[in-house]
Symmetry: C2
Subunit: 496 residues, 2 copies
């Protein structure tokens, strides 16, 4: 059995029809859910790309691997999914984004150079690279994101798209061709991207995945890692106007959230992103584009499924479909990710296991608490390996796929966020070392702990599923907070 480990970027858990979205159309992803199990309580290890991905690729918590923010290098020697799979002669290939930064100092210390196979794997999160493209080939608000080679930009140039950076000028710009239609500006989100749909990023990467499968031999796991529906929120025709204002789900927020908010939450709400996404005109422009991007992703899933069916591989390929984190989209007066409300910290997770052992669970939903690192353990387990418990902190999900409760189900889920590089940190006067947040969630409660003497946040998920009422400072909930802290502190003392 081979494994397609598909990861979208910034795809909300509830922006799929199978997860209850009322107006979107996602028939292909829904079909994968109907063939497998959808996990409705799956948490990312960190609501930020880099840290979440390093957890996914190591099976370890952020506090354990230490790569707590975008661009933080994963330390050399940290064992990855690829290492565990190669131990059992299973290839582990990257097609798309990792957000990995190599630990250049560590590699130099060990005398490793990126010109050998082993050393290249160290530089690429343990993957063998079919095609790596991190997908942000532009100067963002904080300068140039990436100086690496972009295979996608090279593809665009080969197709005749001009200029130094067709990624920015065509794939992620509005089709009126002016600079001001850049996809970086939210107001351009309703314009069609300046590119033929089949040349845009999502179809291009799907083509890369199919080309990989056409030549692949032996047992393998392929990490097909899309940049979309991550911003820039701009999508080519016909997706750009497939959804309108009437298709947007109501925003989830309340004025009471802005009254005496938790200081850190308040600072995020007051930040540029929070303020932007709190504007209805931004939501009205961006959310339809975001939905269009998802619809395009779904269509590409259809293309992948068709390839698998036509080639006969569907009966022998496990499909795992997930995201690195979600997107607030204005809910809770927030944009993008960064904090721990469900739209940000929960992720879609669908697993199709073609084997007979999973027949009893096809089309079901599982509400067990699971974490992104559990996917890592599941891939090792499904590939025939033994999960090395002293290294991988994730737990295999195969028992759930077989309709059983595992021996050690999670009684709580953990997520972490380091905001030391975020403007909120200096705004609050927090030292970088203390700029750390921890979420611990059970089925019924969610507590967010902040270092540096801040109070916690607490949500009653049973009676307040929208998380609009922060009970973190309410004296009536002292015992509940203590119980949640008990989980968090027990976790803190684990051997990492």
């Amino acid at each position: 059995m081979n494994i397609l480990y598909i990861m979208f970027d910034q795809l909300r858990f509830d922006y799929l029809v199978c997860a209850g979205h009322p107006t979107l159309k996602t028939p292909n992803i829904d079909r994968i859910a109907a063939m497998g199990v959808r996990f409705s309580n799956a948490y990312t290890q960190s609501p930020v790309c880099g840290a979440a991905r390093m957890s996914a690729y190591t099976g370890r918590y952020v506090s354990s691997h230490g790569a707590q923010w975008n661009g933080h290098p994963l330390r050399v020697g940290e064992p990855t999914l690829g290492d565990h799979l190669r131990d059992i002669s299973v290839g582990c290939w990257l097609i798309g984004k990792t957000h990995m930064n190599a630990d250049a100092a560590g590699m130099a210390r060990l005398g490793l150079a990126p010109d050998s196979i082993i050393d290249a794997r160290q530089a690429e999160c343990g993957f063998d690279v079919w095609c790596r493209d991190d997908g942000l080939w532009a100067q963002g608000p904080d300068g140039l994101y990436d100086a690496k080679r972009s295979p996608y930009n090279e593809f665009l140039k080969s197709k005749g798209y001009g200029g130094d950076n067709p990624w920015a000028d065509f794939a992620n710009a509005g089709s009126d061709g002016e600079d001001m239609a850049s996809g970086w500006f939210m107001r351009n989100a309703d314009k069609p991207a300046n590119i033929a749909e089949q040349d845009s990023e999502t179809p291009w990467l799907t083509g890369q995945a199919i080309e990989f499968m056409e030549q692949a031999t032996g047992n393998w796991c392929a990490h097909v890692s899309y940049i979309k529906p991550h911003w820039p929120y701009i999508v080519p025709a016909p997706y750009h106007d497939m959804y309108g204002v009437d298709d947007i789900k109501p925003v989830v927020r309340s004025d009471s959230e802005r009254t005496d908010p938790h200081p850190i939450y308040g600072a995020f709400m007051q930040g540029r992103v929070g303020k932007t996404f709190s504007r209805d005109d931004v939501r009205d422009t961006v959310v339809p584009a975001y939905m269009g991007l998802i619809k395009q992703c779904d269509d590409q899933m259809g293309r992948l499924l068709a390839y698998l069916e036509d080639s006969g591989a569907l009966a022998d390929t496990m499909i795992i479909l997930t995201s690195d984190h979600g997107d607030y989209l204005g809910d809770h007066w927030m944009g993008e990710k960064d904090l721990f409300h469900a739209p940000s910290v929960k992720v879609p997770l669908i697993i199709y296991d073609p084997r007979e052992s999973a027949n009893s669970t096809r089309g079901t939903t599982c509400d067990a608490l699971v974490e992104a690192i559990d996917v890592t353990a599941t891939i090792i387990d499904a590939s025939g390996g033994e999960v090395p418990e002293h290294i991988v902190e994730g737990r295999t999900l195969l028992p759930y796929l077989a309709g059983r409760v595992p021996a050690q189900p999670r009684s709580f889920a953990i997520s972490e966020y380091d905001y030391s590089k975020h403007p909120v940190c200096s705004a609050l006067g927090t030292t970088p070392r203390d700029a750390r947040l921890f979420m611990v969630a059970t089925h019924d409660w969610k507590l967010i702990h902040a270092e540096d003497g801040f109070p916690p946040m607490l949500f009653d998920l049973l009676n307040d599923p929208d998380e609009l009422c922060d009970l973190g400072r309410d004296p009536a909930y002292t015992a509940q907070r203590a119980a949640m802290y008990g989980h968090l502190h027990g976790w803190g003392l684990r051997m990492s």
Copy 2:
């Protein structure tokens, strides 16, 4: 400035005259203390050789580096003291014991083999090896300790000591030459070792250190790491009868400690080592030998000091003298180490800084809470490096040597112990993953937390300095336990 980082093995913090021992003679170590600062509240990161040493060589807590027991490999890529020093062109040399086991799987994954300089450093805890000798060349109670080459055994053979293992038959056996006089048996501890004093391990290693210094150029730190006064408790003449029963400090224990003890403490007391050392005849035989071993160590410190003076190097050499952990010697009905009473978890720590900046503190005692990993940071700092705070969890002690309180003095000290490989674990029915203990100590209080639902232990160090009364289950101390847990839990959430 060069650095002699001298580590003894199993040397109790209070078995030095400068630390108050009433009958021992340690004039040379006392002289180093008079030249520098003695830290009277220094804690090992773990009361067991291997884990303590991996912390000392990485500057990181046991939970952070993960090598929690003797023989557990330190994972490849874990940055060591040697790595940090080489970054600033300071050599870092090993002369003696490390207890390091190389991460063979990790090295193979990275394509490292021990036949290159970089890779050999990975296999040797980051040190360049002048001479490595772990000093237990025998079949212990659990089989052969070590299959590596023993330079010391080769030295003995070159001197005409016969047999396959002169370490066992001469250096660590009684001088009547019979098998039954093996140093492994406590009852032989009063016999002189079957070897000329100058050929025994401590003088031999001192000779190695002097030979190293004679040829060393450039800036360096040399880790001179003695196996003694670690068992086998046997010492050559004239040290074997230098101390007698009358010289032994009174045992620190009380019958109340055996009444309803904490379950884990109770299990250790009932173990082989605890029972053996609770016998007065064992103490009467072993403690004088242990004191003789320390006196021999002290005389070798005199030899080192003489070399430094004669060569003019004393004015340009920092001396750090410490141990990896202590020895119960029957106190608290315990032997060796393993738990967190002061005789086991506190270590001697003396630092002589030859520079003018330390003139104001010479001959003083500092009672600040410090940890073994702080020595690592101190060495980096004293060598002119910047302590990489995102890697090294220790904090430099140089401010104390200059008579200042550092910006971030420790408000508590942490030590950890993993007893999953100890017979106590199966005796208690604890799963290996839960067989972990944590100590958190302030100046006035010490709490020991045990995973797996056990109650904590609590000692009032101010009113019960001998730690005879466990308040861990006393309802009157609920608030104090909560305060100590606050420290521990905050520490648990650090980024490691």
